[in-house]
Symmetry: C2
Subunit: 243 residues, 2 copies
DNA sequence: CGCTTTGTTGAACGGGTTCAATTCGCGTGG
DNA sequence: CCACGCGAATTGAACCCGTTCAACAAAGCG
């Protein structure tokens, strides 16, 4: 695969124009790329020195399990995202990471990362931006769980997913492929699977969005954005891009 | 105030033993410290290049307001915490920051920060640890909002607050001073103020914790930890401290 | 001492859960 | 090719946790 085709590179390219030299530095990130099967944890909570990855293909969830069996998905990770970046600093993983589909991930070598950060402020800034965009998303989901009802929350989640997928060229203008089950949605949105089903039905019957056979389609994008109180700008490059 | 007495320094000292040289470097962080009144935003959502601070005294909330008037507090910041660190990278503030009490905060100078990070991996690691501990807390609150009921959520929040305050020498073994109103608690925990009141009453009547006149007291610490499913280790230094 | 903010309590309502049953999609083996 | 099995989706009904509305008490403050 050409470096420019990698989702991670597409993502960074959204922030800065990458020089050939910068591209070749990033290229080293993908020296050790290998597949992992769906379902078995890449990293599990409490694990020591688990190492970090860049997700290159497939979908992943990071989650925590509570005493009592409940599960909360902290984030859905898509190609181009870091996996377990914080564990490079934190010795112990504070949540589990599980592939939802079969995935392909590249081991994140500490030396390569530091080397990339030291080549100059441009690349460093782009990488840190990408990393802190992840945290901004977690904050947005926190707000959803705290103060949005089930319909708003679901709509917001789908729009956010779409916006992130767009960045790495994995979504169409009004739809995207989504391998999540209703159980995944429930655990991500803090709802029961039964209720997610009802919410999806309502959204479909109201002509807002359709999720069927692994495809999410926005039937009324504008209305959906209004209902979800979705801030189109907060994921938009142009407002933050360095020229 | 001696450098060693500052909450931020106490917090870092929990991760590494600070040399005199490192202390003098950190000392520069506090060159420009000044008070801010309670109630008026330090940073408001959407503001451009808002700058960042280290909170030296007093309590602060970071929050988002939704269309419809609802408010979600993303984090309660206590002395030693960074304020708006992410806005050093993000050009635009993605949430508002409001002092809850009168506060004293030090302007975070980008040059000072970079200088401190470049002096060596020890100090850099400690500072980044402190910063990423913040994110870990947001994640823990996300889990609370998604999968814990009101009582568990409230208990967990109080324990977390206590653990953080302990680090900077602001909590006793079984109690701490807490300037939050029930409205603050409600907005932080995604509940109504009315319900927070009932939950606090229940916790009090069950002999678990008492919150009266600005003092939180743990009446049955062990039981509380069990109810909240609180991971004592996740804020514990010893498990991550570098020797 | 009045005024505003914060805390407290009751009663009715409703969004979301839980339990339970049924259906659908699909791979697997007979 | 069909029967079976199993996970995911779907739907109904009863229940309950937390909200909302409303009223009042208490506490801080000019």
């Amino acid at each position: 695969m050409g470096t420019k085709d990698r989702p991670f590179v597409k993502k960074l390219a959204g922030y800065i124009d990458l020089s050939d030299e910068e591209l070749s530095i990033i290229d080293r990130f993908f020296e050790h790329t290998r597949p992992f099967p769906a379902g078995s944890d890449l990293i599990h909570e409490g694990q020591r020195s688990p190492g970090a990855f860049i997700l290159d293909d497939g979908w992943v969830s990071s989650y925590k399990v509570l005493r009592g069996g409940g599960r909360q998905i902290v984030n859905i990770l898509i190609p181009g995202d870091f996996l377990g970046l914080r564990t490079v600093l934190y010795r112990t993983a504070d949540h589990s990471i599980e592939p939802i589909t079969q995935i392909s991930a590249s081991t994140l070598d500490k030396q390569n990362l530091l080397h990339a950060l030291e080549t100059g402020p441009r690349l460093a800034t782009a990488i840190l931006w990408a990393a802190s965009a992840d945290e901004a998303m977690v904050v947005e989901r926190l707000v959803s769980l705290g103060r949005r009802d089930a319909v708003e929350r679901t709509a917001h989640f789908m729009l956010e997913l779409w916006a992130r997928l767009r960045r790495v060229g994995m979504a169409d203008p009004l739809s995207f492929a989504c391998p999540l089950s209703q159980y995944h949605l429930a655990d991500a949105l803090g709802l029961s699977a039964v209720h997610i089903n009802r919410v999806l039905r309502q959204l479909r019957e109201d002509g807002l969005l359709t999720f069927r056979k692994g495809i999410v389609t926005f039937d009324d994008f504008e209305h959906l954005v209004r209902i979800a109180d979705f801030n189109i700008g907060y994921l938009d490059y142009d407002s933050i891009r360095v020229h």
